[in-house]
Amino acid sequence: MRPPSPSIPEKKFLYDALKQSLRLDGRDMLDLRTPTFTFGPELGWVECAMGKTRVIAQLDAKMVKPLPERPFEGIITIHSEISPMASPDYEPGRPSEEEVTLTRMLDKVLRRSDAIDKESLCILAGQRVWQLRLTVHVLADAGNILDCSCLAGIVAFKHFRKPDVEVIGDEVTVVRIEMILLPKLTFFEQHSPSERAPISLAIHHTPFCVTFAFFPDVLTRPVVDPSLLEQRLSAGLVSIAMNAQREICVLHKAGGVPTAPEEVLRLINIASILVKDLDKRVEARLLEDWEGRKVEVR
């Protein structure tokens, strides 16, 4: 069943409020909900929350044979799922339109933007490469699951450490795969000179997705990071994935209210500023977490 659309008073109130540049949660038109990250005990496990929207991303790696046509490249696969758990609006079974959009956008933002250096995932050309599997699970949908999922995904990539390997001839030895760092672990009981800390992934750049919602009234300016009600009542979304280097990775505007070219360029500019802040916040938070896991190897 399609979810019942918002009632007439809700609709009217939201449009009126937006006309006065007021948002129901007290944000400014161009404010993001501050994302918070909770890292799990494993590296590459992150829960990202923006307001009541919550997404879990989990990354793991395993060794596989590379694809015959790409013998020097690792493999990245992304699974995403919106179950009825996120919101009763989603039906189990058949992938919903939202799910198709989310899967494709994650694929474009995280994989096809070449954020991760795939060649660095190669262990032994044509024989062994790392396969990175990212699973994105939407826990709660309170609007804008796309941005939240992309954020969770990229943070998971940055948080992850892959085990070091040693290649002797055709033999591949994983050096201490069990040395997944636990928080507040200060000391390793067993260690030998050959043990090395797991290494982070080679990441070219860090794309972040920012979504704008447009409204039917031409004079209402678009809002960033729409809440569920805003998203439902919007007349079109524009998603822009950018990195802190002001490069656009994905731009997706399909339909919705027609927008003047200048407006599109203005949004890109706004996105570039928001992305810079996000980048700083993510780096700081990752550093904080890493410090907390500091290991002392004697």
Binding site: D114, G255, T259, P261, I268
Partner: protein
């Protein structure tokens, strides 16, 4: 990925001899297809798509739940002929790329078609891709615009879409497959009356300043396409009107009116 083909040479000519802003030839054929209400075969360079529009009509019993009480629903289906692409491969109905393409086309036309005039009805857009050489989405969109117009479905405006890319710092328009594989590409759909964009899509990394260049050029190119599409549509409609007004039927109608 890395190409050995020189995409653009010192004389600013592209691999197929075009200038950076030059578009490929467009041909539009309104020949009737079956019982469709509107149909068009649209080719843009070597890309060829065929679009049939059915409707507005009563929703099929199975999909009636998905209709709206205050507007028509659009249903877009895209099929890629296995022989139309470089590598012969059958794509099922569940192919994610085609589903996304269909979803994009659907959402592009939702605000353009005056769906509020047809509550509870459905408008079907069936797209067959016969040949593919870059610019698939723009071709589908332009052809759908024309097919919707010939089906007599009210539209707020045309949607004229074009692809663009950047090679180094040189913006290019209307990319072929070879170019699409190598340079960042942008698809822009404009509504010519207001010059506003309904569709902007980009999937590869590009600096925002470069993007601005190609985006502006593409918006202008959309208007040029519009004149081409409008001409074709006018010619076809004029043709039908002439037949209607001046053909043997009209003479007979006049005769009956006189008697």
């Amino acid at each position: 990925m890395s190409s050995r083909v020189e995409l653009i040479n010192a004389g600013l000519l592209r691999s197929d001899g075009r200038r950076p802003y030059e578009l490929r030839t467009i041909s539009i054929n309104f020949g009737a297809q079956g019982t469709a209400d509107g149909s068009v075969t649209y080719s843009h360079g070597l890309t060829q798509v065929r679009v049939s529009v059915q409707g507005p009509h009563e929703a099929k019993p199975g999909t009636r739940r998905e209709t709206f009480h205050d507007r028509a629903t659009l249903n877009v289906e895209v099929q890629l002929a296995p022989f139309g692409v470089g590598e012969r491969r059958r794509r099922g109905r569940g192919d994610k790329r085609l589903l996304e393409l269909a979803a994009t086309i659907k959402s592009t036309f939702e605000p353009v078609v005056q769906t509020h005039l047809y509550p509870r009805s459905t408008i079907d857009i069936f797209i067959h891709v016969l040949q593919l050489d870059g610019g698939l989405l723009p071709a589908c969109i332009n052809a759908s615009t024309l097919a919707l117009a010939t089906a007599g479905i009210p539209l707020f405006d045309f949607v004229c879409a074009i692809s663009g890319g950047v090679h180094g710092t040189q913006p290019l328009l209307d990319l072929t497959t070879v170019e699409e594989n190598d340079v960042p590409s942008v698809v822009v759909g404009v509504m010519p009356r207001t010059g506003r964009a309904t569709l902007v899509q980009m999937e590869t990394r590009l600096h925002m300043d470069r993007f601005e260049d190609v985006f502006r050029v593409a918006c202008d190119a959309g208007k040029v396409l519009w004149s081409e599409m409008r001409d074709a549509l006018r010619e076809r409609t004029g043709d039908l009107v002439d037949k209607l007004e001046a053909g043997p039927g009209m003479v007979a109608v006049k005769e009956t009116e006189e008697t």
